[in-house]
């Protein structure tokens, strides 16, 4: 109802993405792959479990990507399809998927940026297909929450934020 952010992510979606990203991690020797929604929500994580707070990481990733998107427009580009942040030991590579989510690859010096970039191309194509299908079916088949959900959620809100 509020606009573009409305979509659902199902278990079979998670499985398809898991297969794509596991294959990519094996080929590229990268450590972890994460999918982050452009609104700042973590969708899924594959590979080595990250040591950081994933919720905070997702919000910062989305902000980072959005800010760079605007910078691209100022330069007359429609977008920067990918970003790379280099650290001494740990680096990250970010790629746009279907303009709605971001693929984040975390890697260290067991691999190279060149190899990650080479292998990520196939993963991006496959993920774009999966997410495009996911977004196009949305709104029609999402099961929604149970009818008792609302009352219980309100009780929890009263409990947590003070009745």
């Amino acid at each position: 109802m509020s606009g573009a952010s409305s979509w659902s992510f199902r278990e079979d979606d998670a499985k398809r993405i898991q297969v794509i990203l596991s294959g990519f991690l094996g080929e590229s020797n990268a450590r972890t792959a994460l999918i982050v929604d452009r609104t700042g929500q973590m969708v899924t994580t594959v590979g080595q479990a990250p040591a950081f707070d994933p919720t905070a990481f997702a919000s910062l990733t989305a902000a980072d990507f959005s800010a760079n998107d605007q910078l691209a427009r100022m330069l007359g580009e429609s977008e920067f399809g990918a970003l790379f942040h280099q650290g001494e030991r740990e680096s990250m590579y970010l790629a746009d998927i279907a303009r709605r989510v971001i693929l984040v690859v975390l890697f260290d010096n067991r691999t190279t940026l060149g190899l990650v970039k080479l292998r990520v191309k196939t993963a991006v194509v496959q993920l774009t297909q999966v997410f495009t299908e996911m977004f196009s079916r949305d709104g029609t088949s999402a099961p929604g929450v149970e009818s008792e959900f609302l009352g219980e959620a309100e009780d929890e809100i009263d409990k947590l934020f003070g009745a």
Partner: protein
């Protein structure tokens, strides 16, 4: 509606605190961070300047617990209030599920409030969102200050309401927060709906949780 992740059984709702600079948006989040059960909150992130002015946003995740098999989380964001940070302000609204406008009650800040409200409407439209259709609340902050404008004046300026076109909604709706006031009422023959409002002193925490409770209940209603 927010993203429902059936794979991880999570529902995340994005709440954005909007308003003029130095109005108390960050203070709202800080109070929530300090007072909510520590197990229910995540790390608070502030992207601020050296002088503690919000540069990009503040972020605080709050975990409501598991409801009917779903982990429900509220992601609280503030935007930078200063006029020249509009580009980053607009980015934060992406995917918003509920908006709290934190107004500065001081008479001297009326123009800044109006400008920020206008800016909110414009940025929402540019994202294709309609403030009249998503959960929206106004918090009149700094009620303790001697130069605070009367509520009626603030309401007239910042919360004049919008016409109710749906005939099903054209009936009086009492305001649960304020006796003998209405969120939907008929004025000069026209049905008008106003955003719920809350009075607050964010520095002491007065009204902070009332506001959060009000907006989050309205947001979960949109999930059903």
């Amino acid at each position: 509606m927010s993203m429902i992740n059936y794979a991880s059984r999570e529902i995340n709702c994005k709440l954005v605190y909007y308003g003029p600079g130095l109005g108390g948006k960050t203070t709202n989040l800080e109070h929530v961070y300090n007072k909510v059960a520590p197990a229910a909150r995540g790390k608070m992130i502030s992207l601020a300047t050296e002088t503690e002015r919000t540069l990009f946003f503040d972020f605080l995740p709050v975990d409501l617990g598991t409801i009917r098999g779903f982990k429900v989380k509220f992601h609280l964001y503030t935007v930078p209030g200063q006029v020249y940070y509009n580009a980053s302000r607009k980015l934060i609204l992406k995917g918003v599920d509920g908006v709290v406008f934190v107004a500065d009650s001081q008479i001297e800040r009326m123009d800044a409030n109006l400008e920020a409200m206008q800016n909110l409407y414009e940025n929402m439209i540019q994202h294709g969102y309609d403030l009249a259709k998503i959960p929206f609340a106004i918090q009149y902050n700094k009620r303790d200050l001697p130069n605070a404008a009367p509520i009626a004046e603030l309401q007239a300026a910042l919360n004049p309401g919008w016409p109710v076109t749906d005939p099903m909604k054209q009936r009086p709706l009492p305001d649960p927060q304020h006796d003998s006031e209405f969120l939907i009422s008929q004025e000069d023959g026209q049905w008008i709906e106003r955003a719920p409002y809350f009075e607050a002193v964010a520095l002491t925490g007065d009204g902070v949780f009332d506001t959060l409770k009000g907006i989050s209940k309205n947001v979960v209603k949109t999930l059903g």
